[in-house]
């Protein structure tokens, strides 16, 4: 009889092809069609490769001073000239990229981990748990970001790790809110009820069903969060509360060029780091927007 049933309906249910396409694959396909997003990916990949391979690419040492060779204009030997201590600007720029990109990544990872966990717990369990978490979020959201960051940096002292932790801990509430709202809509869907009926525990349901379904939103906000992480590192370093000299970062390179003489005469000290911050943020935002469009489940291909 089983065969009978199967035969009856196999004519109706002819599906072509063996391999299925997951929603992720569809999203990736859509992303590749988006020109701005592809531009973002290419620029970011170049930046990442440059900063990872920095020691291979440049012959100079990051902190090597040469006082007989200060304020050189861009030339064949020094592509972007040298600074007030005769250090190669291009070298410092790509080493600075390491700092900026890793601060962006690590601080966003911290905020995403805290935000997603608390947001998912609050959204799924609701009631008292949710209330407590959301009040903490409200409290964190009351603090003006830069004033808090400056105060904490002043207390803990300037260092790259402090910047990562500060910007990570101050920016999780917005992710927690978004994740909570998404979880609250996903948990009402019938497939969650179906897995309850199969006997799955709440933790299994959160990790197997709810988080994969809010992941798209998390990815988009993570990308955009990296941009703001980079910006806050640049800002703090510019104020002298971020990465300490001689370790270079785009922010403290800008800060070092902050005097009238350099602004007027030595454009190669401040244009390249400023431009790189600008291009990086722009590429990340392009990629983030592209991801948002590509992963939106409401869009049909």
């Amino acid at each position: 009889m089983a065969n009978n049933i199967a035969n009856k309906s196999s004519n109706i249910s002819k599906v072509q092809g063996e391999e299925g396409t997951s929603l992720w694959k569809i999203g990736a396909k859509r992303l590749i069609k988006n020109k701005l997003a592809v531009f973002g990916i290419v620029v970011l990949s170049i930046l990442i490769i440059l900063s990872v391979l920095a020691p291979v690419i440049t012959p100079y040492d990051r902190d090597e001073t040469n006082l007989t060779n200060t304020y050189q204009k861009p030339s064949k030997e020094h592509w972007l000239g040298t600074d007030e201590l005769g250090r190669d600007v291009f070298t410092r720029l790509i080493y600075g990229g390491r700092v900026s990109l890793s601060v962006g990544l690590v601080s966003t990872s911290i905020s995403v981990i805290i935000g997603v966990l608390l947001g998912a717990i609050g959204g799924y369990y609701g009631k008292v748990v949710d209330n407590i978490i959301m009040r903490i979020v409200d409290i964190f959201m009351c603090f003006p970001f830069f004033i808090m960051a400056i105060t904490i940096a002043a207390i803990l002292g300037p260092s790259i790790w402090n910047v990562m932790i500060i910007s990570g801990i101050l920016s999780w509430p917005s992710i927690a809110r978004i994740v909570r709202a998404e979880v609250m809509t996903v948990k009402e869907r019938e497939f969650v009820e179906a897995s309850k009926a199969l006997g799955l525990t709440p933790i299994e349901i959160i990790f197997r069903h709810i988080l994969p379904n809010v992941l798209a939103v998390v990815i988009v906000y993570t990308t955009l969060g990296i941009a703001s992480g980079i910006l806050s590192e640049a800002g703090l370093s510019f104020l002298g509360l971020g990465v300490k000299q001689p370790q270079p970062s785009w922010g403290n390179m800008l800060s070092a060029a902050q005097n009238l003489r350099s602004l007027r005469l030595h454009w190669w000290l401040w244009v390249p780091p400023g431009l790189l911050v600008f291009i990086t943020i722009l590429s990340i935002n392009f990629l983030g927007d592209g991801l948002r469009d590509a992963l939106d489940p409401k869009l049909k291909h």
Partner: protein
């Protein structure tokens, strides 16, 4: 006495209505209000009623997907919960119990996780309960899908690649994966086209026979229920008004509400005279149900006693229970 697989005693499910800044509780929506019934092993029990009368809530509360407000449910000789005696199975026991009772959902578009492949969906329960290892589970999933009329290659595909009827077949395969004894079909065909409805119904009927299933079939399609179910319960505003075998109920409806409901079935012959009983007014709000018999506000035969006293449930023929003051 017959072999009762499921026994529901005065089941209640109230949803609190909250208002104001401090979400004070100002009342209850009585979605399921004191219903009792039983299902014999191998039987298909139909649950009918208009939308919003608490059919789906009943199904979900029986499976303990919703926290019951009152009453008890006994399944296969074991109590699942008894609110009055403050008894409930532990989380582990409940998880084990869920192997035997599964559900088919109404909306095939919402009941499958869009991020999971069909194989993962169907094998999820088997892997959770460690019935099979991964490889065996996949083989079993292929078998089940073929049984439900889908090609075995479907396991690598994703729900959005299927039509509504095919998705419902996936849902059925998932519910069968744990080899349950009892299945609740929560309007499993309501979201499908009429032509697909017939196929899915036939499939369900074949599977019920093949797997020796007992079924609680929730529907608002009276014609389907008549031919599909052995016994039928008619619900109105969270309570049963009449329970009987489908022959009794359709040949000889006793309760005025059942009579009105049955008169709404379209006749297949245009010449046939239709005696339509048209009820006055709207369904009262389940937050504030009428006193006495809940149906008295719309009943054509209303008497004084109906407004005061809740009618008792009487067995008028064998296996035919009616709650009405007329009898």
């Amino acid at each position: 006495m017959e072999d009762r697989i499921l026994e529901v005693q005065s089941l209640k499910k109230y949803f609190p209505i909250k208002k104001g800044v401090f979400s004070r509780k100002v009342g209850d929506i009585k979605a399921v209000d004191d219903i009792s019934f039983y299902i014999n092993r191998g039987e298909i029990f139909g649950l009918v009623g208009e939308s919003g009368c608490g059919k789906s809530t009943t199904g979900r509360t029986i499976l303990n997907l919703l926290e019951p407000t009152g009453g008890s449910v006994t399944f296969d000789g074991r109590r699942i919960y008894d609110v009055e005696e403050n008894y409930r199975l532990s989380t582990e026991e409940m998880a084990l119990m869920r192997r035997d009772m599964q559900m088919i959902f109404q909306d095939p578009y919402a009941s499958l996780d869009p991020r999971m492949s069909v194989g993962a969906i169907v094998t999820e329960g088997m892997l959770k309960h460690k019935i099979y290892d991964k490889k065996e589970a996949m083989e079993k999933a292929k078998e089940l899908l073929e049984l439900c009329g889908l090609p075995a290659s479907s396991i690598k595909k994703y729900p959005h690649e299927f039509s509504g009827g095919q998705r419902q077949r996936i849902g059925i395969a998932r519910s069968l994966a744990l080899n349950p004894k009892f299945i609740i079909g929560d309007e499993p065909i309501a979201a499908l086209d009429v032509s697909i409805q017939a196929q899915v119904l036939t499939l369900m009927q074949d599977l019920i026979e093949q797997f020796d299933l007992t079924c609680l079939f929730i529907s608002h399609d009276l014609c389907v229920v008549r031919y599909f179910c052995d016994r039928i319960g008619v619900m109105y505003l969270g309570s049963f008004v009449e329970v009987g075998t489908s022959d009794h109920l359709f040949e000889n409806p006793m309760h005025p509400y059942t009579q009105a409901l049955l008169s709404a079935i379209p006749k297949s012959m245009p010449i046939e005279e239709k005696q339509r009983i048209i009820l006055q007014g709207d369904v009262p709000s389940p937050a504030n149900p009428p006193k006495g018999c809940k149906f008295h506000t719309r009943c054509p035969y209303v008497k004084d006693i109906c407004k005061e006293q809740v009618p008792e449930t009487k067995e008028l023929e064998t296996d035919h229970f009616v709650s009405c003051h007329l009898y």
